[in-house]
């Protein structure tokens, strides 16, 4: 496990969410390297951030290997081990399920929609990028918490799956960073029922 330095999601997690979201949407090494440089510029103090260094090192490897691993994990024609759509992780795994509909409602509330109308709106990359947009726009804490509960909690399972399936340094780093970041944004548990509310009785 790589220990994050102070640069990791220090005071401004939005650029990290944007980076991780885009990394899942565009698997081209050159583009990812450029995005990483952008991230470094925005977060500052990259020199002591081990995760940034890991990403940088991973992107210096064979671009074809990275591309192959992306396809194997998320799109493999032999069946992908880590589908990146939230509806797949629901009780009834499918595409375009309830998570797609909810994500679409979130986007529309912000005046936007996914550019591809024929792709599910609950792609992990879109959700992370959108969360950075909410953070950037100064969305109130309760709104961030609501989005987290709706669309980020499952990312933790997704990250575990990636970590168990891949040995590629880029996607291992991705899963680690995404899991930490999502965990970091975890809202306080919702308030318990008000006092005096009758407790649920077990059935006789």
């Amino acid at each position: 496990m790589v220990e994050p330095g102070p640069g990791f999601a220090a005071s401004e997690p939005a650029p990290w969410f944007a980076f991780l979201g885009q990394a899942l949407l565009v698997p081209e090494t050159a583009r990812l390297a450029a995005l990483l440089e952008e991230l470094i510029k925005v977060i500052g103090r990259p020199e002591d951030d081990a995760l940034v260094a890991t990403f940088r090192q991973a992107l210096e490897g064979d671009p074809l290997e990275l591309e192959r691993e992306y396809v194997r994990l998320f799109l493999d024609p032999a069946g992908a081990p880590c589908p990146p759509w939230q509806s797949v992780y629901s009780e009834e795994p499918r595409l375009m399920g309830a998570a797609h509909e909810r994500a679409l409602a979130w986007y529309r509330a912000e005046g936007i929609e996914p550019a591809g109308e024929n792709e599910p709106a609950d792609h992990a990359g879109l959700l992370l990028l959108f969360f950075s947009h909410l953070l950037d726009g100064g969305a109130p804490a309760e709104r961030l918490a609501a989005f987290w509960r709706d669309h980020l909690e499952w990312i933790l399972r997704f990250c575990e799956l990636i970590e168990s399936e891949t040995t590629h340094p880029f996607y291992r780093a991705w899963a680690e960073a995404a899991a930490r970041l999502v965990r970091r944004m975890e809202p306080e548990p919702e308030a318990p029922p008000p006092a005096g509310f009758p407790a649920e009785q077990p059935l006789a």
């Binding site: 650029p15 995005l35 591309e67 396809v71 024609p77 069946g79 992908a80 947009h133």
Partner: protein, 741 residues
């Protein structure tokens, strides 16, 4: 919600504290008018070929419900389990989504192909380049297409390129019936007028469990109307339970019963004299026919089939005199199961002719249709190149199959591996997995010899593992077309097929691929007279207009269905040489076959080493090997088992659920035993469609075993020697050993 200036800047990343990192474009765009209203759209199912009409409910771009279409002749206003669960296929997470290319040159089911995503442009350019190189260097015979002969623009593409090697599963399922019907009644027909039949004779066909609603509804109606149903089947099938009489016939001996029935009907002069005299060639060949069938006595047939002689005699008499009577011959259920299926289908056709019900109420009839012009009629192509070259499946050894235009699924592996190794340089598989072939392991080895393989499919099949390029296919719920009724069509009816949602991801139709490959490989065939490229939507509009359905496809989409009211007028001339139906078929004799059906045993017979008959079936809720990953259907029938009678289980010392090893001369599988008294004690029955190797197929991966691992494939010499002149694939012709593991 209105878009603010900040939002527009944000799309470009200008206002983001994350800089360009936070740019929402190109992944997001300004929202439209919000959630779309719920819509109801008429369309057609595409899971099986009875293509039932249906109504799709679409909410905000998502298909939410499918139900039957009132007034539709196929589904009769209902849908079967497969049809109703279409959303499970559309939204299957494992769908192929983007074109891919292999980066690992080593091929095999255990090799990691090293896929990378590519653009459609790159995929099509690469395919065109490889196919062109093969054509220029090795000629037309070097290309293999494993694909249905549809849509018409795909046929145009194959004709323009001069493809001589094309096979598809229809050859496995329909070919034999197609060849026999062409010369006996004048053409393949799917229509069975069960509703008006009074006597229904079923050789093997479990038409209730086959779940083509059109047939299931028909036979239920027939029973309501007082029809008698007689069923020969080694299994006490759903239809057998529904029948008035069931005979657990010895596998592969249906032919003996049919021949003996013909003997009874002819020798006792019980046939429909009016029809036989006027519309068949019986009188012309009467002495040969009478002499030929004399040898097939009910007693002889009883010894072959285990059906009592007096029952055969009585059923023959009833069939001839208590009609209208019908003996439907469906596809795989009969026409391909055993090496003697060619003879069986001919015998069944003769039974229907003797009953006098071809194109008559209560019989097999020809569909009344609204002619829909083909693309070649709308945009006539330049003359197609002559087709030259060797046939990898050896079908040139079977003249009647060669003239049919199809190919042979079951001899393909032998052709690739032994007859013509190295001949096929490039191949295109459209929606076929090796699970559908007899002996898939051998087929996989054969495919690995092809230097360049393209697989187009909607799911990651085992064939895709061997491909150089994988193309993602759209499915019927994402397609536009016109669908005439062919299974229940006393009056013409056409139903629209329309994309109820946009094609998911980067999936495309095979028609679109034909056009794009055509532009690259044979451009002259894909241009309009004014030199512009053919447009698929313009052709569809023109089809609608010329068929008289509406002024445009958009207009027909709103109408949904057109039915022409007209009386059913029975045919008096038939599309057969001489205009009369043929009982005695001289053309068969001229082209390597027999003019009248003769007894031939099935290919594989029980022996001390393999003492049991091996039977397979397709569960009612599945379609071949294509629906096992549909979560909804998988829940109903998730895996297969070795079904056997408790007597057999006792003999081999096996209990319910215990794993057994089933072994044939070509392979072995292991499955849990399921004990059932609904099967002859000398048979083992296994469901087809399971044993997918892709472990990441979320639902079907790793469940069950491949039934076809036990089925031997064939050589063309074996087919010729067996008198299998109409090309039956023998896909249930196996015997096995069963032991506890």
């Amino acid at each position: 919600m209105a878009l603010t200036r900040r939002d527009l800047l944000k799309l470009a990343g200008a206002a983001s504290t994350s800089g360009p990192l936070g740019a929402l474009a190109p992944f997001f765009r300004p929202a439209g008018s919000g959630a779309a209203a719920e819509r109801k759209l008429v369309t057609c199912c595409g899971i099986c070929d009875s293509v039932c009409g249906m109504v799709a409910t679409v909410r905000d771009g998502v298909l939410t419900f499918l139900e039957g279409l009132e007034g539709d002749f196929s589904g009769g206003g209902g849908l079967c389990g497969k049809g109703a669960s279409g959303a499970g296929q559309l939204y299957d997470p494992d769908r192929l989504k983007y074109p891919m290319k292999r980066t690992n040159p080593n091929k095999g089911l255990e090799e990691d192909p090293g896929w990378v995503r590519i653009s459609w442009e790159e995929a099509l350019d690469t395919i065109a380049e490889k196919f062109r190189a093969a054509l220029e260097q090795f000629g037309q015979e070097s290309l293999l297409f494993v694909t249905r002969p549809a849509p018409d623009i795909w046929m145009r593409f194959m004709n323009a390129v001069g493809v001589v090697n094309r096979v598809d599963h229809l050859d496995e399922c329909y070919l034999t019936d197609r060849v026999i019907q062409r010369y006996t009644t004048g053409g393949k027909s799917w229509c069975n007028d069960f509703e008006n039949a009074k006597y229904i004779l079923l050789f093997g066909w479990d038409l209730l469990a086959k779940t083509k609603l059109v047939y299931a509804n028909g036979i239920v109606q027939a029973k309501d109307n007082g029809a008698k149903v007689v069923c020969f089947n080694p299994q006490y099938s759903a239809t057998a339970r529904f029948a008035d009489e069931w005979y657990p016939i010895r596998p592969g001996s249906d032919l003996a019963v049919a021949l003996a029935m013909i003997n009874v009907i002819v020798s006792e002069n019980l046939f429909n004299r009016e029809f036989v005299d006027q519309y068949t060639n019986f009188r012309q060949y009467e002495s040969q026919i009478r002499e030929h069938f004399k040898r097939y006595t009910p007693e002889w047939a009883a010894a072959e089939s285990d059906v009592p002689a007096d029952a055969i005699q009585r059923i023959a008499r009833e069939f001839a005199t208590r009609g209208p009577a019908i003996a439907p011959a469906h596809k795989k259920s009969l026409c391909a199961n055993y090496a003697n299926a060619t003879q069986l289908v001919h015998a069944i056709s003769i039974l229907n002719l003797l009953a006098g019900t071809i194109d008559r109420p209560g019989g097999r009839y020809f569909a009344r249709t609204i002619p829909i012009p083909t693309i070649d009629q709308i945009v006539p192509p330049p003359a197609y190149p002559a087709k030259r070259g060797r046939r990898v499946d050896g079908k040139d050894r079977l003249p009647l199959v060669l003239e049919d235009g199809g190919g042979l699924f079951s001899t393909l592996a032998d052709g690739l591996l032994n007859k013509y190794p190295g001949m096929i340089q490039a191949a295109f598989f459209n929606n076929y997995t090796i699970l559908g072939f007899p002996h898939p392991e051998r087929m996989a080895k054969a495919l690995a010899t092809i230097p360049f393989l393209v697989v187009m499919d909607f799911l990651p099949t085992d064939t895709a593992l061997l491909a150089d390029i994988v193309l993602p296919s759209s499915i019927y719920l994402e397609s536009n077309d016109l669908v005439p009724r062919e299974y229940s069509a006393k009056r013409p009816q056409v139903v629209v097929r329309q994309a109820v949602v946009p094609a998911m991801f980067e999936t495309r139709s095979i028609g679109w691929v034909a056009l794009e490959l055509g532009k690259r490989l044979a451009p002259d065939y894909f241009k309009n007279p004014d030199g512009t490229w053919i447009s698929l939507s313009a052709v569809l509009d023109e089809k609608v207009r010329r068929a008289g359905l509406a002024n445009s496809f958009a207009e027909f989409r709103e109408i949904g269905m057109v039915t022409r009211e007209q009386p059913f007028v029975p045919r008096t001339t038939f599309n057969v040489p001489g205009g009369k139906c043929q009982i005695y078929v001289p053309q068969f004799a001229e082209r390597g076959g027999e003019p009248l059906p003769v007894w031939r045993p099935k290919r594989e017979q029980p022996s001390p080493e393999y003492p049991y008959y091996y039977l397979t079936f397709i569960p009612a809720v599945h379609r071949r090997n294509t629906t096992q990953n549909n979560r909804i259907l998988n829940e109903m029938f998730p895996t297969n088992a070795a079904n056997m009678h408790p007597l057999l289980a006792t003999r081999i010392g096996v209990k319910e659920g215990q794993k057994v090893r089933i072994r044939s001369r070509v392979g072995a599988i292991e499955l849990p035993a399921h004990l059932t008294e609904t099967l002859r004690p000398d048979c083992v029955l296994v469901a087809h469609g399971f044993g997918h190797r892709s472990r990441y197929l979320n639902t079907a991966g790793g469940k069950g075993a491949r039934d076809s691992d036990l089925i031997p494939d064939q050589t063309i010499e074996e087919m010729v020697a067996a008198g299998n002149f109409a090309g039956a694939a023998s896909i249930m012709d196996a015997v096995v050993n069963v032991q506890a593991v």
